[in-house]
């Protein structure tokens, strides 16, 4: 008879909510924030963009850098979709909608991790 064993484990995921504008002015601070958490061994980052109104290429670059660093450390950086059509559009224009893992809510993002 097949031997089935089940188990569960918990993973530590840091959740961060961003709102307003994520542009060149804010990107440096966000990069530092990601870097600080990764240095502390926090390699799973769930970023809620649902209340983000404006995202530019510098903000996007901060998210991409965080994702690459998190994945290199064995974790990931995943995103909750922005509700703003304009903020969502830049992710589609750059094809990063196919690179990041997304969910429509933080609950869904954490549940599918």
């Amino acid at each position: 008879m097949m031997d089935v064993r089940t188990g569960s484990h918990e993973i530590d995921i840091l959740t961060i909510r961003l709102s307003g504008r994520l542009d060149a002015l804010e990107a440096t601070e966000l990069r530092q924030l990601f870097n600080d958490h990764l240095q502390d061994g926090q390699v799973n980052l769930a970023i809620d963009l649902s209340e983000l109104e404006f995202l530019d290429s510098a903000g996007l670059a901060a998210l991409v850098k965080g994702m690459k660093d998190a994945r290199a450390a064995g974790g990931d950086l995943r995103l909750v979709w922005p509700r703003s059509a304009d903020a969502k559009r830049i992710l589609e224009l750059t094809s990063f909608d196919k690179v990041f893992t997304f969910a429509t809510s933080m609950d869904d993002l954490l549940a599918q991790w």
């Binding site: 542009d23 060149a24 994702m67 690459k68 304009d86 559009r89 224009l93």
Partner: protein, 135 residues
């Protein structure tokens, strides 16, 4: 009195936040159902162009103008920064961290013209005011 269609920006990232409100003023003559769907995308493209001027052309300041031309908005940006070298810009390879500004502009604007005149960079971007052109 200064022409209200012209926006002078200092060369810093905080100054870029005035682009959105300025564009809203420029689009104000249009019905809201025309301006609202396109305003955010046009702001993003102009923001990226100005950001490139600050980060890559190292300009000390820049000037923007915007005029409605039929069913298009024409935005002109001039700066006295370093010349744009098209052959030094290549589309990013995913998931590269930098280099998406021009790619974003090219996908939003319907036409882009760049000229170097009198030691100045002059960019002309044309945007459709038909929101279906953005999707």
């Amino acid at each position: 009195m200064a022409d209200s269609s012209v926006l002078l920006l200092e060369s810093n990232h905080l100054a870029l936040r005035t682009i959105g409100p300025w564009l809203s003023e420029r689009l104000a003559p249009l019905p809201d159902e025309v301006a609202a769907p396109v305003r955010g995308q046009i702001e993003l493209a102009v923001h990226e162009l100005a950001n490139n001027s600050i980060d890559h052309a190292k300009s000390s300041g820049l000037e923007l103008s915007a005029d409605i031309d039929g069913d298009e908005l024409v935005v002109v940006m001039t700066d006295s920064g370093l010349p744009f070298e098209a052959d030094q810009v290549s589309p990013p390879t995913e998931p590269q961290v930098r280099g998406y500004g021009l790619m974003i502009i090219e996908q939003i604007a319907t036409a882009i013209d760049y000229r170097r005149q009198d030691d100045q960079n002059r960019w002309t971007l044309r945007f459709s005011l038909d929101s279906t052109a953005f999707h």
